[in-house]
């Protein structure tokens, strides 16, 4: 297989026999001292076998919260899931008993986190923590679990795995720690792996190695990969499809190639033009004006309208498509592309 075809597979064509995981109209809010915070406001997506779906968004866009809702690891309270379905292997995970949901975590869906140092327990060896997967889900003995842990550490390319299995997290470098997290997450061959900013805490060369590892593992196992990130470069390199989130909603969805080359939502467009360009050396970066929305007080209408350079309010707006009043639904704009903007066609230029 050539590098070109592995690094940029062409979108949904790779999708297997129907979705592994289907999220429908997920809504999550938090009860806080200062009122209700609406973190996720009707998110739907699917992940198929072998697919890499990137969920792209800035801090507070709801991307991590939605992932934690899928995993069933939100702290409730203060969080509450007010609606939605999370369908995995034909069952809605939000309605199955907690014990059944727990059994899905690990063998069915698993997750890796941003900061591997704080996400690993400092007082247990990495071998013990990887082995816990086999002990909890497969009832293995401690000794057998440790053997499997060594195999997994080999598989995620940690050098001298047999010697390092009894080492503690603080004795590893940042990249190696993230590999330990990955080893733990893939231990039971999950069908879906959710990676929540897996490379954010790492330096650039190590980032590339970790992403390569994830892609290789995905190719070997055919698992679906949900990659939560704010890094446009990572999305461009590894993802098939991308869902752009803003204020707890998906505002645009499509293949990475399409979305990146020709955005259909002004927010995506803003993100693209904020990427530093090598050619524009010395030029100014183009930030998106304004502030990310306060989730306790999401603007009426399109949540992006206060910052949108293409908004239409007052007399400019078409009937029923007033940016400050009417919430734009996520709709099919052109085949293979959905966007939540009243004027996507104009943004796209079709």
């Amino acid at each position: 297989m050539s590098t070109a075809s592995t690094s940029l597979p062409s979108g949904p064509a790779r999708a297997g026999t129907g979705p592994l995981l289907e999220v429908q109209d997920l809504r999550v809010r938090f009860r806080t001292g200062s009122g209700l915070v609406n973190a996720v406001n009707g998110v739907s997506y699917t992940v198929s076998e072998g697919e890499t779906l990137a969920i792209l968004g800035e801090s507070g866009s709801g991307k991590s919260v939605s992932a934690q809702a899928i995993m069933g690891i939100l702290d409730m309270p203060p969080a509450e899931i007010t609606s939605g379905r999370i369908v995995f292997e034909g069952r809605d995970l939000l309605t199955v008993p907690a014990e059944e949901q727990r059994k899905v975590r690990g063998p069915g869906i698993s997750m890796i986190f941003q900061d591997a140092l704080s996400s690993l327990n400092p007082v247990y060896s990495v071998g013990f923590q990887i082995g816990e997967m086999f002990r909890a889900h497969r009832g293995m003995s401690r000794k057998d679990a440790k053997k499997r842990a060594v195999e997994l550490m080999d598989r995620v390319r940690i050098p001298a795995a047999a010697q390092r299995v009894n080492d503690y997290p603080h004795q590893f470098s940042g990249g190696m720690r993230q590999r330990v997290m990955i080893a733990m997450a893939i231990a039971l061959d999950p069908r879906v792996l959710i990676a929540d900013e897996p490379t954010t805490a790492l330096d650039v060369t190590v980032q590339a190695q970790v992403m390569d590892l994830l892609k290789d593992l995905q190719r070997d196992t055919g698992m679906g990969l949900v990659l939560i990130t704010h890094d446009l470069g990572v999305v461009n390199e590894v993802a098939d499809n991308v869902a752009v989130m803003y204020a707890g909603r998906i505002v645009e969805r499509g293949t990475v190639d399409d979305v990146f080359s020709n955005p259909a939502h002004p927010y995506t467009e803003g993100l693209m033009s904020s990427i530093p360009q090598v050619e524009a050396k010395g030029g100014r970066l183009l930030p998106i004006g304004g502030q990310p929305p306060n989730l306790a007080h999401i603007p009426s209408g399109c949540p992006f309208h206060p910052r949108c350079p293409k908004r239409r309010i007052g007399a400019d707006a078409l009937p029923g498509r007033h940016c400050a009043e009417d919430v734009p639904p996520l709709r099919l704009v052109v085949p293979g592309r959905e966007a939540a903007c009243h004027y996507s066609e104009e943004v796209l230029g079709v």
């Binding site: 975590r105 063998p107 327990n121 603080h170």
Partner: protein, 307 residues
């Protein structure tokens, strides 16, 4: 680790010398004449006083007295009190009482404190959590002397549940004084545990443990409690040293013949040798248990390494 422990043990030697000298100097500086006081209402004959002063080196300057004390100590002689009773006898007779009291107090402090703290920490802001907060605040704000008398009066005298004085009923005699002695630390342990558990419940690695699909019990016991108890265990360990020396009030109120009482009596009678002997022993206990705690800390938390 071995080298670290050896170095720490060596360091206790200068500390013990310093502490014993300080105590010696303080007893020396006390006003009044201990020998005259021996006689009580009937003054002793001047010849007897002179002989006793000579015998206990009381005519020498401070430095010489201390050196003579050390000279005896080097030969294994801790000296005697003014009535000729060896200090070593006093210690060996009274130490078991104090050790029993400390054991009871530490058990009460650790068991009740940790259980209350864990339950409160796991269910923050629950009714039980608030009960723990209020009751610990109450206990901490009452001086131990007052608490001792209240407990003695209520549970000993009025309700008759516990003996009010002495050690005639074996371990049972130590329950009430042990509880009084432990009360302050008990409240502290409960609060420390509560805070530590509450903090660890929010830790990233606990979230990871949940994401791994571990059973809830494993998440709580293995990934929350173990980490939470590290500061608690180290506090309780260090508290053994403190309680061994801090039982003066409790032993006096409940009339327990332990070393706390002994030191109280010895200070009043200006028995230099007795005070120095016992206090130095307490200092040693304190240093020793602190060393144990430091070693334990490294065992519990692999991030701590002593080189």
């Amino acid at each position: 680790m071995g080298r670290y422990v050896a170095r720490r043990l060596l360091l206790t030697i200068p500390v013990l010398f310093g502490a014993s000298f300080l105590i010696f100097a303080m007893v020396y500086a006390l006003p009044g004449d201990p020998i005259r006081a021996l006689g009580g209402d009937r003054p002793l004959a001047p010849a007897v006083v002179a002989q006793l002063r000579q015998e206990f080196n009381l005519n020498d300057p401070l430095g010489i007295q201390y050196l003579k004390y050390l000279g005896d100590l080097a030969q294994g002689d801790l000296g005697t009190d003014f009535r000729g009773r060896p200090v070593l006898d006093t210690i060996s007779q009274r130490l078991p009482v104090t050790i029993k009291l400390t054991v009871v107090a530490i058990l009460i402090e650790a068991v009740i404190g940790i259980i209350a703290g864990v339950l409160a920490g796991i269910r923050r802001n629950s009714f039980f959590d608030n009960v723990v907060l209020v009751s610990t605040t109450l206990v901490v704000s009452i001086p131990i002397l007052v608490l001792a008398f209240i407990a003695q009066f209520t549970f000993g005298l009025k309700l008759g549940l516990f003996p009010i004085s002495g050690v005639q009923e074996g371990w049972y005699s130590f329950l009430l004084p042990g509880f009084v002695l432990a009360s302050g630390s008990l409240a502290y342990v409960a609060r420390l545990t509560r805070t530590s558990v509450a903090e660890n419940m929010r830790a990233d690695y606990v979230r990871t443990a949940r994401a791994k699909g571990l059973p809830n019990r494993t998440v709580v016991v293995r990934h929350t409690l173990r980490n939470s108890l590290i500061p608690v265990v180290t506090f309780v360990g260090a508290d053994i040293g403190t309680l061994l020396g801090g039982a003066i009030v409790t032993e006096s109120v409940f009339n327990l013949p332990g070393i706390g009482r002994a030191i109280f009596d010895a200070v009043r009678a200006q028995e230099g040798a007795v005070v120095v002997g016992i206090v130095t022993l307490m200092v040693f206990f304190f240093i020793f248990f602190n060393l144990v705690v430091d070693v334990l800390y490294a065992v519990l938390d692999p991030r701590i390494r002593y080189e």
